[in-house]
Symmetry: C2
Subunit: 193 residues, 2 copies
DNA sequence: GTCTATAGACGGATAGAC
DNA sequence: GTCTATCCGTCTATAGAC
């Protein structure tokens, strides 16, 4: 499989456009993301983007998949196996929170229905499902296997992150409650074996 | 202060418009809410709405305040004082969840940044702050006074509701975890007095 | 591959007749 | 108070020249 020079260059430009899209989303908000602005940020006019993407939805789709790929990389850096369960649980949740709060538009695109009328393509969605399956497997390694336990922990984690993102995106008012929440949760699950 | 017949009639029409707006939002989604459709649902044309509201933002503002007024009424039906703390906590959270899931657009307008670029006016926002202050007072009655405890419980509750609303709006997969979450939370707060 | 020009859709708001 | 007609802005997407 020989990737020609032209193909490489095209792929680079595609990534430049995605990076520009993230930047624009960061400045103006995800909902205000417009092809004109993305193009301007990369030194083009809007119609030129159609050389690289089929349209706006295709760009959003690529951003979505890009986000989940970034999350996979980010979570690879968390070594669960050397930690006690409570610390492992807290480490996972903290890493997730770090990632979400590092880019609010990325968080919104990946986890919230912030874009009315848009939803990821089945292919892009599959990427997220794959990650979440892996996450459930990580919880199983810690000993969280009951579906209700998983649901409860996901709700607690996402609740803390959502509150932090909505009310204090640069602070740690809810973030610092993560270790406590992890200990609380583990104590409870163990008292009901 | 004599409310004239004209004033009463005007107020009734305003409420008709709000009801129509909720109906349209329920059908098409909050983001697709358009003056034309609201007007049609109430038997008018869009410009006529300007007789009753200053514009779209004013309508959203009235809907927002309307929602919080409805929530106040709904929560007045929950009698906390006859219950044990864990049951009281669960009852409050369950009532909140019921309210949120009864109307997804209402939930989105009140609790989520579902409308890019829109935020309630200071007056409308004050209504929500007043309610939340009352809610914190209710928690204090149960013995939850530490700010960190309050934040944690709010995060847990909102996390469960958000998961339920996003993934299973008509079911109870997360809702049924509320009593367990309440017991877990109370056990934890009491072990750290 | 990039551009200009423009189509086509949508939605909020306003003017002015009735 | 309600209407018709219209303006204005925004945005995605396409046609066709270069």
């Amino acid at each position: 499989m020989s990737t020609s020079l032209a193909q490489r260059r095209r792929e680079r430009t595609r990534q430049d456009i995605l990076d520009a899209a993230w930047a624009v989303a960061g400045d103006d908000g995800l909902a205000a993301l417009a092809l004109r602005d993305i193009a301007a940020a990369v030194g083009m006019r809007a119609p030129s983007l159609y050389t690289y993407f089929d349209g706006k939805d295709a760009i959003l789709d690529a951003m979505f998949a890009d986000g989940w790929r970034q999350l996979s990389e980010h979570m690879d850096g968390v070594d669960v196996h050397t930690l006690a369960p409570a610390d492992a649980l807290a480490a996972i949740a903290t890493a997730m929170a770090e990632f979400c709060l590092a880019s609010l538009p990325r968080y919104q695109l990946m986890f919230t229905p912030a874009l009315p009328g848009w939803e990821p393509s089945p292919e892009a969605y599959a990427v997220s499902v794959q990650f979440l399956d892996d996450a459930v497997a990580s919880l199983a390694d810690i000993g969280i296997t009951d579906p209700g336990d998983v649901d409860l922990w996901v709700a607690i984690t996402s609740g803390l992150i959502a509150q932090q993102a909505a009310n204090d995106p640069t602070g740690d008012r809810w973030l610092r409650l993560v270790p406590r929440a992890a200990a609380m949760f583990l104590t409870e699950t163990r008292s009901h074996p």
